[in-house]
C-alpha cells in the first residue's frame, strides 16, 4: 500500500455559473511524478491553485500531505513548493540574493542557506554567475534555478505549473533530469504541462477535459486502453468532444 500525499474528493470550483473544475477526485502517491494534463481552459490551473491554497474550493474535500485544505493551510504551506507559470524569481536580484531570500522565508538557517548555495552552484554549474542579476541569465538557467529554489526547503510535494513553457528541447530534457532527481529524493512532483512528450516521463497522468478528469493511469496503460501509439493520440481522442475552446 503506497502512502497517499494528495487526496481529493469531489473538489469543485465555481466562478458564478462557470464550473472551472467539476468534482474532481484523485490520489497522488508519495514520491511519484504525477502529470496533470489538459487543454488550455480545462481547469488545470484552477485545480492546482486550490491544492496550493491560492484559491478556496467551492465544495468537496482534499488533503495535502495529510493536512486539510480548508483548516490547515498554514501547515500545508510549510510542506509544499510551488513554481508558477510565470517565471517566479526576482530578476533584479542576483542568483545568490534570490536563493537567500527564498531560503529565508521558508525558515532555513543561515548555515543551511550557505550550504544550499554551494550545492546549487555546483549542481547547476552556476559558480561564476552567483553574483549576476537573474535577469541577465538565459531562460533555461532561470527555469532550472526557479525549480531548485522551489524545492529549497525540501518539501513533501512540489507543484509545477507548466514549468517548461518556451524552453528549448535540450533544456527541457535537463529540466526533467532535475525533476527525476527531486523525485528520487522523495519529493512528490505534481506537474501540469501542454507537452505530450513530457507526459511520457511521468509515472502516472490524469487528463482533464472541460473541468472533469476523463482518464487517470500510467502512460503505458492509457495507450493500451485507447489503442493509441502515443499520449498525443490519447489526448486527441479524449479532448475531441471538448466544448470549451482554448483560452
Amino acid at each position: 500500500m503506497q502512502e497517499v500525499v494528495i487526496k481529493t474528493d469531489k473538489l469543485t470550483k465555481r466562478f458564478g455559473d462557470f464550473i472551472a473544475t467539476n468534482e474532481i477526485t484523485f490520489e497522488v502517491y508519495a514520491g511519484e511524478i504525477f502529470g496533470f494534463l489538459g487543454a488550455n481552459g480545462a481547469g488545470k490551473t484552477t485545480a492546482m491553485r486550490m491544492l496550493c491554497g491560492l484559491s478556496k474550493p467551492s465544495s468537496g474535500q482534499a488533503t495535502i500531505a495529510g493536512y486539510d485544505i480548508y483548516k490547515e493551510t498554514e501547515s500545508i504551506k510549510k510542506h509544499i513548493g510551488y513554481m508558477s507559470q510565470k517565471f517566479s524569481l526576482y530578476e533584479d536580484l542576483t542568483v545568490m540574493e534570490n536563493i537567500r531570500f527564498f531560503g529565508g522565508i521558508y525558515g532555513l538557517t543561515n548555515k543551511q542557506i550557505k550550504e544550499k548555495i554551494k550545492n546549487l552552484a555546483e549542481k547547476l554549474g552556476l559558480q561564476d554567475q552567483m553574483r549576476k542579476l537573474v535577469g541577465s541569465l538565459p531562460l533555461g538557467w532561470k527555469q532550472k534555478l526557479a525549480f531548485s529554489v522551489a524545492v529549497i526547503h525540501e518539501p513533501r510535494i512540489v507543484f509545477l505549473d507548466e514549468p517548461t513553457g518556451g524552453v528549448d528541447p535540450v533544456t527541457r530534457r535537463q529540466f526533467w533530469d532535475l525533476i527525476y532527481e527531486a523525485a528520487d529524493n522523495g519529493i512528490t512532483v505534481f506537474v501540469t504541462t501542454h507537452y505530450m512528450d513530457e507526459a511520457e516521463y511521468c509515472n502516472r497522468i490524469s487528463m482533464m477535459v472541460d473541468g472533469v478528469i476523463k482518464a487517470l493511469d500510467t502512460p503505458a496503460n492509457l495507450k493500451a486502453h485507447y489503442g493509441a501509439a502515443s499520449i498525443d493520440e490519447v489526448f486527441f481522442e479524449l479532448a475531441r468532444g471538448a466544448k470549451r475552446s482554448a483560452d
Binding site: 491554497g53 508558477s84 517566479s88 522551489a150
Partner: protein, 368 residues
C-alpha cells in the same frame, strides 16, 4: 521578525537597483524647491520705506538710526495719515511703513512695553516677509541692548500687518504644498507599483504559497518607501530653510510626526490601488489620475480653495493632502502646537484607518 528583515532587505535591493526611479524620487523635490526658490527669492536692497515717527524721542531715534544703517532700505521720514499711506501702497511707491506712536519712549520707560506698527505690502509676499523680518530683527537687537543697560524687563512689540495678502500666499504656501505632493507621490505611486509588480511578475503567487503571512509582504513593502519619504522630507526642509529662508516656527518633532502620519495615509492609499489593478501601468495611471492631479489642484497651494465653486471645495475635503497642508502651514509658519491641529490630525488618522481596512478586506477577498 527575522522574516520581516529578510523581506525588507529584499525591498531595499529592488529600490536601489532601480537607479532611474531612485534618481527621480530624490531629484524631484530638489528640482521643485530650487526652481521655485530662484523664481521667488529676490535679494532685497534699497526698498523704499516710510517711517512715521510720532514720538521723536531718544528710543525712536536710536531705532531709526539702526534701520538707516542697514543697506536694505531707502528711507523717507514723514508724518503720513492712514489714507496717504494707503494711496502710496496702491501706487506701488513704497514697500513698507514703520509707525512709532506718540510717547514711544515714555511707554517704554514707564509701562515697560511699547508698540511699533509695521505695515507691509504683501502682494509680493516674499519681499514683505523679508522686510518685516529685517525690521523686527533690528527692533529685537535694540531691545536686547536696552535690557542690558537697565534691570527692567522692557518689551517692544512690533505689530506687523500684511496688507492685501494677509496669509502670505507664495513661497510659504509652496513649500508645504511641495511637501504634500512629494510625500503623496513617493508613497502612493511607489507602493502601488511595487506591489502590483509582484503580481505581474508572478512572484506574488510564490509568496502566497509560502508560509509567509501575506500582511508581512505588505508591511515590508511599506518600509523602504517610508524611509525614502522621510529622507525626502528632510531634504525639502533643509532646502526650504537654508535656500528659501522659510521659517520652521513650530516643533520639528511635531512636523515629522504629522508627516509620518501622512506617509501612512498615502501608503494605505497605495495599497488600496494595488488591490484594484493587476498591471503596473494601471497602478501608475490610477495613482496619477486619482491622486497626483487632485493633490495639485485641490490642496490649496496652487489655486486658493476659497475661490473655487462650492462642490469643488467640498470635494477637496476627501484629499489627505488638504488636511496635511493645513497642518504643515500651522506648524511651520504660524508656529502652532498640537492643540491647534488635532482636528486635522484626527481626520488624517481616520482616513488612514478607513483606507487600511478597505484594502485589507479587498486583499483578503483576492486571496480567496
Amino acid at each position: 521578525m527575522k522574516q520581516l528583515l529578510i523581506f525588507v532587505r529584499k525591498e531595499f535591493y529592488h529600490v536601489f537597483r532601480d537607479r532611474k526611479t531612485l534618481l527621480l524620487l530624490f531629484g524631484l523635490p530638489i528640482v521643485q524647491i530650487v526652481l521655485f526658490g530662484f523664481a521667488l527669492t529676490n535679494e532685497i536692497k534699497n526698498s523704499k520705506i516710510v517711517i512715521c515717527d510720532y514720538s521723536k524721542d531718544v528710543a525712536s531715534q536710536q531705532i531709526i538710526r539702526q534701520i538707516e544703517a542697514s543697506n536694505n532700505f531707502e528711507i523717507e521720514k514723514a508724518i503720513w495719515s492712514q489714507s496717504q499711506i494707503e494711496s502710496a501702497f496702491e501706487e506701488g511707491n513704497i514697500k513698507m511703513v514703520v509707525v512709532f506712536p506718540a510717547n514711544f519712549n515714555n511707554d517704554l520707560q514707564h509701562l515697560h512695553h511699547a508698540q511699533i506698527q509695521v505695515i507691509a505690502d504683501a502682494s509680493d509676499p516674499n519681499t514683505a516677509t523679508s522686510l518685516t523680518n529685517y525690521v523686527s530683527a533690528i527692533i529685537r537687537d535694540y531691545q536686547q541692548e536696552i535690557i542690558g543697560r537697565t534691570s527692567m524687563p522692557l518689551q517692544i512689540i512690533p505689530e506687523t500687518r500684511m496688507l492685501y495678502n494677509p496669509t502670505l500666499a507664495g513661497a510659504t504656501n509652496f513649500v508645504p504644498g511641495v511637501m504634500a505632493l512629494v510625500l503623496m507621490l513617493v508613497s502612493v505611486l511607489m507602493t502601488s507599483v511595487s506591489i502590483v509588480r509582484e503580481k505581474e511578475m508572478g512572484t506574488m503567487e510564490v509568496l502566497l504559497v509560502s508560509p509567509i503571512n501575506p500582511f508581512l509582504v505588505i508591511i515590508s513593502k511599506a518600509v523602504p518607501y517610508l524611509v525614502l519619504s522621510l529622507i525626502n522630507l528632510a531634504v525639502i526642509l533643509v532646502l526650504s530653510v537654508y535656500l528659501l529662508g522659510m521659517p520652521i516656527n513650530g516643533s520639528i518633532t511635531l512636523l515629522v510626526a504629522e508627516s509620518t502620519l501622512l506617509i501612512f495615509t498615502a501608503l494605505s492609499l497605495g495599497l488600496l490601488i494595488s488591490t484594484s489593478t493587476n498591471s503596473q501601468e494601471g497602478a501608475m495611471l490610477i495613482s496619477l489620475m486619482a491622486m497626483l492631479l487632485p493633490t495639485m489642484m485641490f490642496t490649496g497651494f496652487m489655486f486658493p480653495l476659497e475661490n473655487m465653486p462650492m462642490p469643488l471645495q467640498i470635494f477637496a475635503n476627501v484629499l489627505p493632502s488638504k488636511w496635511y497642508y493645513i497642518i504643515v502651514k500651522s506648524i511651520m509658519i504660524k508656529g502652532l502646537g498640537f492643540a491647534a491641529i488635532w482636528k486635522e490630525t484626527l481626520i488624517l488618522f481616520g482616513m488612514t484607518l478607513f483606507l487600511l481596512q478597505v484594502s485589507f478586506r479587498k486583499f483578503k477577498i483576492r486571496l480567496a
